[in-house]
């Protein structure tokens, strides 16, 4: 199939970017990123500069790939990362617009590559259990109900890709942050420092320049891992109770 690609080109974070138009011949079996590989190969053959885009596992688990395809983070398919998207969902003659995730807290570094280190700093603010190596009791001394383990797992399956931020009209990081807060506060191991954690993580989130949540829920719709907005409600409850509790746990 013959496709027209409109792709974002931007030298670095200091310069302005613009769209470039390229024609390409693709086959239905290719993945979307393989289609971009082919484009880059063609550009290199002509001694041009390939488009920079990020990727690694190419199976939807590392959270590295990040691009907005025809206005949607990770493209048109639900519960699918860009690297899992295949060209059979497109047809001959289609035009595809490809641009980086857009958010103030995710500055563009080059072409389709953005800086998502703000997410690391949110985790560093408190997204952990304070237990050092060697301090752990026997694994079975902490019994956890199957359902609770399942819910914690669901929240913990966030891949940190940032599509939720890119999808949100306010570029809010509530879905990402709340997924981590829920994961840990569902489990007895994580509850001990729950109040402190939620306050610190929310404060860091605000400091990084992410927007507020206005309950649009575009995040949930675009999240490739199906992280539920219920996590946001849960985090809000925990945040308020942490703020009203007088003792700073």
């Amino acid at each position: 199939m013959k496709l027209t690609l409109k792709i974002w080109r931007q030298k670095n974070s200091q310069t302005k970017g613009k769209f470039e138009v390229h024609k390409i011949e693709a086959t239905p079996e290719m993945s979307f990123l393989e289609m971009l590989d082919v484009l880059n190969e063609e550009i290199i053959e002509k001694k041009g500069e390939p488009f920079a885009f990020e990727h690694d596992c190419r199976e939807g688990i590392c959270g590295t790939c990040s691009m907005v395809i025809n206005g949607q983070p990770h493209g048109p398919m639900a519960l699918t990362t860009t690297c899992q998207l295949h060209m059979r969902h497109y047809k001959d003659g289609d035009t595809i617009v490809i641009e980086p995730f857009r958010a103030n807290a995710f500055p563009v570094l080059k072409d389709l590559v953005v800086d998502r280190s703000a997410f690391d700093r949110i985790i560093q603010a408190g997204g952990f259990v304070s237990v050092s190596t060697g301090q752990a009791p026997d694994g079975n001394s902490i019994l956890i109900e199957q359902d609770v383990a399942r819910d914690a797992f669901d929240a913990a399956s966030c891949i940190g890709c940032g599509a939720c931020v890119a999808a949100c009209p306010n570029a809010s990081a509530m879905l990402f942050t709340s997924a981590k807060v829920s994961h840990l506060s569902l489990l007895p191991q994580g509850q001990v420092e729950g109040a402190k954690r939620v306050k610190k993580m929310v404060a860091q989130m605000d400091k990084e320049g992410f927007g507020n949540c206005s309950n649009t829920y575009a995040c949930e719709a675009e999240c490739p891992k199906g992280i539920s907005v219920e996590n946001i409600a849960k985090m809000n409850r925990e945040y308020f109770s942490a703020m009203v509790s007088t003792s700073d746990k």
């Binding site: 500069e49 596992c57 190419r58 050092s132 994961h183």
Partner: protein, 666 residues
């Protein structure tokens, strides 16, 4: 002349580690604060080591080329992690895990290291639970287990099909905590390009800031390599696209030895290659072989008809199918170990019976399993077990509950629905047992240079058992290195911090810069990618699933010729001092060329078949692998040599606690 000393402690196998721990030199807390450690890598091994060392009080600098430590390749591991907890009361023990691992590795690993691994395995699970890793649970709230990879006990802990992800997130969180406390300085988007030695000891690294392209020097008292495996030397593998050998290889070029580089694991159930643009291969979990039957058509006319799409596999009559694993290995059938299943698939495809366009695929069929489960379900719920529609519906449900996510992945990639038509699968490179040679302390032959995780030659001998890589990475990082690193650092408590302005740093940095400029200045006609693909094919053809002397020699010649062309005809766009992914690829491929050659040399030296290494010259009458313990019970540790052939050092393997046996699955 290097003398290999594994530094195995004295005493009975079950007491070595305990005694070692109680008699080793310790570093006092106030001294730890003065000692700096560089860790390269944030996979399970690197993240767990960084966190644990920082908790102990060392000053840690951690590097990853990823944009975040959480993206390391470990994230993709699916099946689970082993531990000798014996929660099932099924007779598991430290000794049994030790025994299974040595046997599974086809008797090419070091007993003392493997025993220690089995000993600390239980602590790993406890640690991960305490961190909040959401392992699967039983109804009563206790940890669930499953069995994995042909062992007789249930010792694999898991978190749905995403165990690696959950374990890595746990280690990443522990690391993040240490970053927030100021105990770890985290360098994302920094690629280590060389080791710096001062007076023969590893005292720092040169890394490239991948955003600016600047080369930067970092000094420390010692360096830990946790950079993962090198399966991507074959270009196509199940590894993440950016996994590579460069950190380990640069260490090797600075005097560390590379051990058993030809030991690569090929996983039998991966989604086959569909076109020349293909960038990677996706693993379909081993667990599928519990219910799927592997087959190819008997008749060539059926093969041709399915290839061209004129015939559907479900329309091929039962008597025209060759369930070749069940035929050749009646005792184990579809559940033979990874290496055996892989070679059998290659054999039938070499005969021309592969079932996709390229002829490199076999069927993995769930039809019988669906009917079998369906009948049982129908029977137990009082429905008619003879009614096809009901049975099929019920059976599909059972299969969905067991393998739903895998079937979904398969359908996403191929567009085929495996509930209706058999999957097509083919073996792919998956894991590398070879790696930097280390002693009991996990130290390479360069003092102060340590290697952990998949990057070392590890505890898996010639073949790794399922769910044992995650165990080893975390054992090394949480529970072994934090002790053993003290043997080196305890001698350094009075050594002040090293300055990165030392001439050794300047010199090494210049060498790195020259190397990168050399690649940029070739300005030839071919892309880096095209060379990598071709290199991968050479290795796959001549140093892949089965190897022979003639092929290996030919492969080496082809590889050398291609390498020569690479250095005269590669085109690397862009500049040194900018964000330049093509330059990153070029340095990796340059190192893969050298490693690839060493793999061939190693495979040629080892004229026996063991584990993942199958030499056609060394097989039984019925074409099974034949080990040669008399001549090859050693670790082959190689020194690279730019001027001539690599130099071999042998570490003899002594088995005092496990009897050497021939594996048989007939």
């Amino acid at each position: 002349m290097i003398k290999l000393d594994a530094k195995i402690p004295e005493g009975h196998i079950s007491e070595k580690w305990m005694k070692y721990k109680s008699s080793m030199d310790l570093v006092a807390p106030n001294n730890k604060r003065k000692l700096e450690v560089i860790v390269v890598g944030t996979g399970l091994a690197g993240a767990s080591a960084s966190a644990s060392l920082a908790e102990l009080g060392y000053k840690v600098k951690t590097f990853t080329f990823h944009d975040s430590p959480r993206r390391a390749h470990s994230i993709a591991a699916q099946g689970g992690i082993n531990a000798a907890k014996n929660y099932r009361n099924d007779g598991d023990s430290v000794h049994r895990l030790f025994y299974d691992t040595v046997k599974g590795g086809d008797y090419r690993s070091r007993e003392a290291n493997v025993h220690r691994l089995a000993e600390v395995s239980a602590n790993i699970i406890d640690q991960c639970v305490a961190q909040g890793v959401p392992f699967a649970r039983e109804y009563g709230g206790t940890l669930d287990n499953r069995s994995f990879g042909g062992v007789q006990v249930s010792r694999t802990f898991y978190a749905r099909g995403q165990t690696g992800q959950q374990l890595l997130i746990g280690a990443y969180q522990a690391l993040s905590r240490q970053v927030s406390l100021g105990n770890v300085e985290m360098y994302n988007r920094h690629e280590m390009l060389d080791v710096v030695k001062v007076d023969g000891k590893a005292r720092g690294i040169i890394a490239r800031n991948l955003l600016t392209g600047e080369l930067e020097s970092f000094a420390a008292h010692c360096v830990v390599i946790a950079s993962g495996g090198y399966g991507n030397v074959y270009y196509l593998s199940t590894n993440a696209m950016n996994s590579n050998v460069s950190a380990a290889w640069r260490a090797a070029r600075r005097g560390a030895l590379m051990a058993n580089p030809c030991f690569c694991q090929i996983h039998p159930t991966c989604i086959p290659v569909s076109g020349t643009y293909q960038s990677k291969l996706t693993l379909m979990s081993e667990s599928l072989r519990n219910d799927g039957r592997v087959w190819v058509p008997k008749k060539m006319e059926d093969v041709e008809a399915v290839r061209s799409g004129k015939l559907k596999p479900i329309d091929i009559a039962e008597e025209d199918r060759d369930y070749y694993l069940e035929r050749k290995y009646p005792a184990f059938g579809n559940l033979v170990p990874r290496d055996v299943a892989s070679r059998a698939a290659k054999e039938v495809c070499d005969e021309g019976r592969g079932v996709n366009q390229s002829g490199l695929a076999v069927y993995l069929d769930f039809y019988d399993a669906i009917l079998r489960y369906g009948r049982a379900e129908a029977f137990s719920s009082g429905l008619d077990p003879e009614d096809y529609a009901t049975v099929k519906k019920l059976g599909t449900k059972v299969i969905e509950a067991k393998y739903g996510n895998l079937f979904e992945i398969y359908e996403k990639i191929t567009g085929d629905d495996p509930y209706r038509t058999p999957m097509r699968i083919y073996p792919a490179i998956h894991y590398t047992m070879g790696g930097l040679w280390v002693d009991y302390n996990l130290e390479t032959t360069v003092p102060g240079l340590f290697a952990i995780g998949e990057a070392n030659f590890s505890d898996h001998g010639a073949n790794r058992l399922g769910a044992s890589a995650l165990m080893q990475g975390l054992a090394d990082g949480y529970f072994v290195l934090p002790y053993t690193i003290g043997t080196f650092l305890s001698k350094d408590i009075r050594t002040p911090a090293f300055s990165k302005d030392l001439p050794e740093f300047k010199k090494t940095k210049q060498e790195v810069e020259d190397r990168l400029n050399q690649l940029l200045n070739i300005k030839g006609e071919r892309s880096v990618e095209s060379f990598h693909r071709e290199l991968g094919l050479i290795l796959w053809d001549y140093c892949g699933m089965s190897r022979n002397a003639e092929g290996l020699k030919k492969g080496r010649e082809l590889l050398r010729a291609l390498k020569k062309e690479f250095y005269s005809n590669v085109f690397v766009p862009g500049e040194l001092k900018e964000f330049n992914p093509e330059l990153e690829k070029a340095t990796k491929v340059a190192d893969f060329f050298e490693l690839g050659e060493l793999m061939i040399v190693d495979a040629l030296d080892r004229n026996e078949s063991c584990g993942g290494h199958f030499r056609e010259e060394s097989q039984t009458e019925d074409n099974e692998a034949k080990r040669d313990d008399e001549n090859y019970a050693y670790v082959a540790a190689w020194q690279w040599n730019d001027e001539g052939d690599p130099v071999l050092f042998k570490e003899p393997l002594v088995f005092d606690n496990v009897k050497l046996k021939t594996r048989s699955y007939k």
